[in-house]
Symmetry: none
Subunit: 418 residues, 2 copies
């Protein structure tokens, strides 16, 4: 295939990402598009319009995933799917998720304009949700498609305003029985392109990361209950301070993660204190724990150890402890055949690349058990992501589009599926 | 003097507190009377009516402090003042503050009915504000009387609705130049009775606490700034996690407070994390620090040491640190002579007592530099206060009234001032 004009791809993708970033833009230069909010809906409708104007058939499914379809000449040939997610963390950047959709649109448009109709149908998906930022639940979009979540199961999770996912979905116009459910039927391959969200490619001066596996994750909500007391009149020795107990657990977790070594990471990202008043000894603190590694046995052992130590800390401090697991994702290895193709393509395009592990979860991990799945990274400046400072240069964005387009060409035009 | 009939005093005080608790009663059984709200005003007007009906002259001063006056036979003899505050925290109990006013009314009424006119004028004060619950400011009432606050200075503090103290004061009918300002002129002594708000008296089976000093306090807001990063892709060794740094500071503070020993207390009551998202390494955490002790040099040394250690922790973790002091109250020692009188009276009344330190701030601390000041405590069930569960039995309330009445008798009828 002819390589997409880099200049053209660069300006196309960068422009599209800039336009997308206006939906949910905040005054810190960040983007906040939480699931089923007005900003989120506007972004999806904008993408639908854009894909339509580029000649694709568009549809929303029952949970709000958006598909743009370039019909292949063969009705029987499996669909080649590419895409990522449209939701963001609070005040995130403009590349995470959005780039995978914009790159898909750029690549499919380029292929259509250059080579006409493919043999296999090409579809670009904008998944409704991946981040878990509004509701304590991730991969709602790809999880719907891969059969992990029942579309009616959103009534049991709530955002901080007490609105259930089900209510939010219905308020945004989805969750109706008559709307089409997505399935994996006839999906031949899934390819996701994403920014690295880490510093490795940049530090090693690579332009393409070929993901070998996505780490497994476990997340917990830990709640520590002590005794709310007057900060002036309760001697130190008579306190059951939930925040001091939680602090000890946070430090213990960090120490254990350092001892365990790379690639294990353990993070307490969220903490809430009750009553959270300067002159009151905290009575209750809850915090999240996020553990990741590529080896599930390592994760299991680490988590068991952490929970045991948390219990010890709670016990000797006279605190009650509740630990609720709320996310468990197995490590997800990518298709070796597709990764080999990506390696060859990167070589052909003279792009420095490396095989890499993804420490972040991605929609791609929902597909690895079901169909050949590939994932590729472009560099992130300073490794920053989930932040308004997230940045990848237009040239790097375009290089990713070139590699993606070349792979989609082999899959959908040459019909070479693993 | 004849000891007040306990039965009578018990029912008088309990009934008055029950009546008062109806102003600002919430459905959790708590009381919320924030400064200058309708509930607050109704409570003050109720007290004014009640004191009037008991034969006292009543007046409001310019900021809304309420005084009930039993004129003494000597015009030159200094006024003996007793009382406490009428405002509460949000959903507080019915004893904090209110008991000091109710006990004053009970004691003065008893003295008047039993002994007639005193030599020194007796006054009961219901201070408008002590808690700092509506506005970020404490002791507005006693601070006005003792010259700490200019009555026109309320324009610079605001409640959460953006209403200034000045506006709220005027809306409640106060803050007019023609209204009388209170001063310390001719105040001979101040006596405050209060619930302990701590567990010491109850645990040691004492009925009366004779306060030797109110602790000094310092409060800080500590802000720790690190680097917001992706929780999956940022190796442990490359993180600048603000929450882990803050957790180490919280633990360090606790350890130092335990080493310093009683009566020092150090509390982190409030913590805020940014962006507070499960899968993001926290970039910024701020927390409050509250330090209390009766010896100012101990407080100063402890705070200097804590700040130095916080800086060390921030430095080796590559975090930025900002520490802003926002409250400093000096320790307030009570009058030794009045405390000795209270000790003798407690002995005479066969009430088990102990000298005690007040870890909480009280209106009395505003007077200690100006006139002989005394403070006494009655037990708080389980040490609970600032809560609907706050409780002191009618018998304990009445015992406090007896001790208070006996002291007021010595000061106002026998004219024995230190």
């Amino acid at each position: 295939m002819r390589i997409p004009m880099e200049q053209e791809a660069a300006s196309f993708v960068s422009r599209l990402l800039d336009e997308l970033a206006s939906f949910g833009a905040d005054d810190q230069g960040g983007v906040t598009r939480l699931l089923y909010t007005p900003e989120w809906l506007q972004a999806q409708l904008f993408l639908a319009e854009r894909m339509k104007s580029l000649g694709m058939d568009v549809r929303f499914d029952r949970v709000g995933n958006l598909f743009g379809r370039l019909e292949g000449s063969s009705k029987e040939a499996p669909v080649i799917l590419t895409g990522s997610h449209i939701d963001t963390v609070r005040s995130g950047g403009q590349y995470d998720g959005a780039y995978g959709i914009a790159a898909g649109i750029a690549a499919v448009t380029y292929l259509k304009d250059t080579y006409g109709q493919p043999v296999n149908t090409l579809e670009i998906v904008s998944f409704c949700e991946e981040e878990g930022s509004r509701f304590p639940l991730t991969y709602w979009g790809s999880g719907h498609m891969t059969g992990v979540y029942d579309w009616q199961s959103g009534g049991i999770v709530f955002d901080t305003d007490g609105i259930s996912l089900q209510e939010a979905m219905e308020a945004a116009g989805f969750g109706k029985p008559e709307q089409e459910a997505s399935t994996l039927e006839n999906i031949g391959a899934f390819v996701e392109i994403h920014i690295e969200q880490g510093p490795v490619l940049e530090r090693q001066r690579k332009r393409i990361g070929i993901v070998e596996a996505i780490v497994g994750q476990r997340r917990y909500v830990v709640t520590v209950r002590g005794e709310t007391n007057h900060a002036g009149t309760t001697p130190m020795s008579m306190r059951h301070d939930a925040l001091v107990g939680a602090s000890e657990m946070v430090l213990q977790l960090e120490a254990d993660a350092l001892v365990s070594g790379e690639p294990l990471v353990a993070t307490v990202g969220r903490i809430e204190c009750i009553p959270n008043t300067p002159n009151v000894v905290p009575g209750e603190v809850s915090f999240t724990v996020d553990i990741r590694h590529i080896d599930e046995t390592v994760i299991t052992k680490f988590c068991e150890n952490a929970i045991a130590k948390f219990n010890d800390i709670a016990k000797w401090r006279g605190l009650e402890l509740t630990i609720v697991p709320w996310l468990e994702a197995k490590p997800a290895p990518m298709s070796r055949e597709l990764s080999d193709k990506l390696e060859r393509i990167s070589n052909d395009l003279s792009l420095p690349y490396r095989r890499i592990v993804s420490g972040a979860g991605h929609d791609a991990q929902m597909f690895t058990a079901h169909c050949p799945t590939a994932m590729l990274f472009v560099p992130s400046k300073s490794g920053i992501s989930h932040s308004p400072q997230e940045y990848t240069s237009p040239e790097e964005l375009a290089e990713g589009v070139s590699v993606l387009a070349a792979l989609l060409y082999e899959l959908a035009y040459e019909g070479i599926l693993p």
